[in-house]
C-alpha cells in the first residue's frame, strides 16, 4: 500500500496490466510523449517497448476501430483520449462496432477493450474540452462505463476494465489527477457495477460520481456539523449502476439528491431519480432532487464559469432544502482558498 496520486495510480494500473499479460497494448495521442498524458502513461514505452505502448495518428475514429479489431484478434487494447470531447469523433466505432460486436454476431467473440477519456474543467477549457457525456455512453447497450473517484478505485477499476471481456468506457476527471490516496500494490481489482458508500448518514442519500463525490463529501462533512447526516454513495460504475445499494439507502433515508457532472436534461441524475421514483415511491419523505450542469455548454472566460459547476455549497444547500432546514453554506465557500477555475493551487494551466 502506497500513498500516490490518482494519475500515478492509473500509471500503476497500466504497468501492472502490461507486465501481467502480453496481450495488453496501450496507445493514444501523447502516450509516449514527454508529458505522458498527465503522467498517467509516463515512460511506460521504455519498459514495455513501443510495439505495445505507442503514440498514434490523430485519427480517433479509425484508431478506435483498430482497437476493436485488435481486441477481436486477441489483444486487450487500452486507448487513451486526452479529452472526452476528442473521442466524439469515434462514436461510430464505439456504438456500432465495439458495443454491438458480441451481440450482433450471436455471442461469438468478445471485445475486451478499454477506452480512457479525460474530462476537463476550468482554466478556460470551454465548450469543447470540458464535457462529461457519460450518460451518452451509459445509454448504449453493450458498453460498460466507469467513473472512478479515488486513486485506489482508479487503479482497481482500470485493471478490472482491462481484464474484463467487454468494452469499457473509463472516464477520468482531470481535476482528480493530482488527488492523493492510499493505493494497494499489485493486481488490485474493483468489480464493475459496484458502488461504494463513502460516508454513512440517515437524513439524505446523495448519489454522485467522480469529482462530484469529492464535493459531496465536503458538503456532507459541513452538514454533519449542523446536525444533518448524509449517505454519500459514490457510483464508480454508471453502467451498470449498483441499484441495490442506492435503493437500500433511499429506503432508509427517504430523501434523495442525485448529483451529476453531465448536463441536466436526459442525464444520469434524471435516470437515478426516475429509477428510485418507480421503485421506492412510498419510501420518499420529500420529492427527490437533482443537481447537474446547466443545459448550456461551459463558457471559456473565468468570468462566465464562476457559478456554472456544481460545488459543495450547492449540494449542502440542496440537502438543507430536502430536510427543510436552511443551511449556512458560507463556511464552505470561505474554505476554498484557490480561484474557482482550478482544482487547487498546484494547477497552473495550460490544460
Amino acid at each position: 500500500m502506497a500513498v500516490t496520486s490518482f494519475a500515478s495510480a492509473i500509471r500503476d494500473g497500466l504497468a501492472t496490466a502490461l507486465a501481467q499479460d502480453s496481450s495488453v497494448i496501450v496507445y493514444g495521442l501523447g502516450v509516449t510523449d514527454p508529458k505522458g498524458v498527465f503522467g498517467t502513461t509516463m515512460d511506460l514505452h521504455k519498459t514495455f517497448g513501443t510495439e505495445r505502448v505507442f503514440d498514434m495518428p490523430t485519427s480517433e475514429n479509425a484508431m478506435t476501430g483498430v482497437a476493436v479489431g485488435a481486441a477481436i484478434g486477441g489483444l486487450r487494447p487500452v486507448l487513451t483520449h486526452q479529452r472526452l470531447d476528442f473521442a466524439l469523433l469515434s462514436l461510430d466505432q464505439i456504438v456500432n462496432n465495439a458495443a454491438k460486436w458480441h451481440f450482433m454476431f450471436g455471442g461469438k467473440r468478445a471485445v475486451p477493450l478499454t477506452i480512457r477519456m479525460i474530462i476537463g474543467r476550468g482554466w478556460g477549457q470551454g465548450p469543447t474540452h470540458s464535457q462529461s457525456l457519460h450518460a451518452w455512453f451509459a445509454h448504449i447497450p453493450g458498453l460498460k462505463v466507469v467513473m472512478p473517484t479515488t486513486p485506489a478505485d482508479a487503479k482497481g477499476l482500470l485493471l478490472e476494465s482491462i481484464f474484463d471481456e467487454d468494452p469499457v468506457i473509463f472516464l477520468e476527471h482531470r481535476w482528480l489527477h493530482n488527488t492523493v490516496g492510499e493505493v494497494p500494490d499489485g493486481d488490485h481489482r474493483v468489480p464493475l457495477g459496484s458502488a461504494r458508500r463513502l460516508r454513512e448518514g440517515s437524513d439524505v442519500t446523495i448519489v454522485s460520481a467522480s469529482l462530484l463525490s469529492i464535493e459531496a463529501l465536503h458538503a456532507a462533512e459541513h452538514l454533519a456539523r449542523q446536525g444533518i447526516t448524509c449517505d454519500v454513495i459514490d457510483l464508480r460504475s454508471v453502467r451498470p449502476i449498483d441499484w441495490p445499494l442506492i435503493e437500500a439507502s433511499v429506503r432508509r433515508t427517504g430523501r434523495l439528491l442525485a448529483v451529476d457532472l453531465g448536463y441536466l436534461t436526459g442525464g444520469l441524475a434524471g435516470e437515478i431519480v426516475a429509477r428510485m421514483a418507480t421503485t421506492c415511491w412510498s419510501d420518499f419523505r420529500a420529492a427527490p432532487q437533482r443537481l447537474a450542469m446547466p443545459d448550456v455548454p461551459e463558457a471559456t472566460s473565468p468570468a462566465l464559469t464562476k457559478d456554472y459547476h456544481v460545488r459543495a455549497e450547492h449540494i449542502a444547500a440542496a440537502v438543507g432544502e430536502l430536510v427543510g432546514k436552511p443551511v449556512d453554506v458560507q463556511p464552505l465557500v470561505a474554505a476554498r482558498k484557490h480561484p474557482h477555475d482550478v482544482p487547487g493551487d498546484w494547477f497552473k494551466g495550460p490544460f
Partner: protein, 332 residues
C-alpha cells in the same frame, strides 16, 4: 493459370450467383425479412480473391457481403439460415444478411455501416503483427468507402505500420442510386488516391476474373513477402437494385443501355466461353455445375426453412461476454 484454377474460379462464380439468384427468387415469399444486397453480376472479385486467400487469412466486409462470405469459405447453410432469422444462422439470428460471420474460415464479420469494418480489419492485422503471427487481412470495400473519413485514417495507419492488409475495392460505380460523378471529381482514379496514402495500388477489370485473380495473387504475394498494405480496385457492376431482389433499370438513375453494356461483360459467360474455346471444358460443364450447386442451395434453403427460430429470451442474451450486473430480460 492452370485449367484446374480456371474451373475453380468459374465454379465459384456460378455458386455465388446461384445463391444470390435463389435469394432473389424466393425473396417475395416474405420469409427472408431483412434488407438484402445481392452481388449478381459482380461475382468476379469475390471468386478471384477466394482462390488467393488461405483459410488462415482473415477477412471483413460491409453490407453487400454474401459473395465475400461464400468466397472465403463461409457455410452457405448458415448464411441462408441467418437471412431467414433462424437459430442456426451464422449469427444466431442477431445479424441478418448484413452481419455475417464464419470465424472457422477467417471471415471475421461484415457490418452495415459503410467503411465500418475497415479499421477493424487493420486492427486484426495489428493484432497479428503484435503476436508475430503470419497471414494477411482482406478488407472488402466498395467505391463509396473512399468517401468515408475512416478509410483515410485506417489506410494511413496501415501504411505507417506496414501492416499486411489488402484493401479489395469493388468499384460498381454506384452508392445506392448515387453515381460516382456526384461523389468524386471527374477523372479521379481511386487507385491513385490509394497510392497517395502510401498503399501499393493497382486497378483492373473485375469482370475478367482471370486477370483479377492475377492482380490479387500478386498483391497478396507481395504482402506475404513483407510489403506494405496493398490496394486493388476492380471495376464491376451490380445487375439488380441496390437492396432487394429486383432489377431497377427503369427508375431513372442509370440507363438500360449502361446495364446492357455491363451485362454482355458477364464474368461467368466470359470465362465459360473462353474455357470452351480453349477446350478446358465442354458446353455441358457449366449446366452440370449449376445443377450440382442447385442441389446444395436447395438443401440450404430447406434446412433454413425447417430450422427453429431463436428463443425469445435470446433477444436479450449475448449483450455482454461477462455481465457485470442483472441483464435486461424483457422490454421493461
Amino acid at each position: 493459370m492452370t485449367d484446374e484454377l480456371s474451373r475453380r474460379l468459374l465454379r465459384s462464380m456460378i455458386r455465388i450467383r446461384a445463391v444470390e439468384e435463389a435469394i432473389a427468387e424466393r425473396y417475395a415469399e416474405q420469409q427472408m425479412r431483412c434488407p438484402t444486397h445481392l452481388s449478381i453480376g459482380q461475382e468476379g472479385p469475390s471468386a478471384a480473391i477466394g482462390e488467393v486467400l488461405l483459410p488462415t487469412d482473415l477477412a471483413v466486409s460491409g453490407h453487400r457481403a454474401h459473395a465475400h462470405y461464400i468466397a472465403k469459405g463461409g457455410d452457405i447453410g448458415a448464411l441462408i439460415a441467418e437471412i431467414y432469422g433462424k437459430a442456426t444462422g451464422c449469427a444466431a439470428g442477431k445479424g441478418g444478411s448484413m452481419h455475417l460471420v464464419d470465424e472457422r474460415v477467417g471471415f471475421m464479420g461484415s457490418t452495415a455501416i459503410v467503411g465500418g469494418t475497415v479499421p477493424v480489419g487493420v486492427g486484426l492485422a495489428l493484432s497479428r503483427a503484435v503476436a508475430r503471427k503470419d497471414g494477411v487481412v482482406c478488407i472488402f470495400i466498395g467505391d463509396a468507402v473512399l468517401e468515408t473519413g475512416v478509410f483515410y485514417e485506417s489506410a494511413n495507419f496501415a501504411a505507417l505500420r506496414r501492416l499486411p492488409v489488402l484493401f479489395l475495392c469493388e468499384n460498381n460505380l454506384y452508392s445506392v442510386y448515387s453515381p460516382l460523378s456526384v461523389r468524386q471529381p471527374a477523372g479521379r482514379s481511386l487507385a491513385a488516391v490509394a497510392t497517395g496514402l502510401g498503399l501499393e495500388a493497382t486497378s483492373g477489370d473485375g469482370n475478367d476474373v482471370v486477370s483479377a485473380h492475377g492482380l490479387l495473387a500478386d498483391a497478396v504475394a507481395r504482402l506475404r513477402g513483407g510489403a506494405g498494405p496493398q490496394f486493388v480496385e476492380l471495376a464491376t457492376y451490380r445487375w439488380r437494385e441496390h437492396c432487394g431482389p429486383l432489377y431497377d433499370n427503369d427508375i431513372g438513375y442509370r440507363t438500360p443501355e449502361e446495364f446492357e453494356e455491363w451485362r454482355v461483360r458477364d464474368p461467368i459467360a466470359r470465362l465459360n466461353e473462353t474455357m470452351i474455346a480453349a477446350g478446358t471444358i465442354d458446353a455441358k460443364w457449366l449446366p452440370a455445375v449449376e445443377a450440382e450447386v442447385a442441389r446444395e442451395i436447395d438443401g440450404a434453403f430447406a434446412a433454413a426453412a425447417a430450422a427453429p427460430f431463436p428463443s425469445p429470451e435470446s433477444a436479450y442474451q449475448n449483450l455482454y461476454a461477462r455481465p457485470a450486473g442483472p441483464e435486461a430480460t424483457t422490454w421493461r
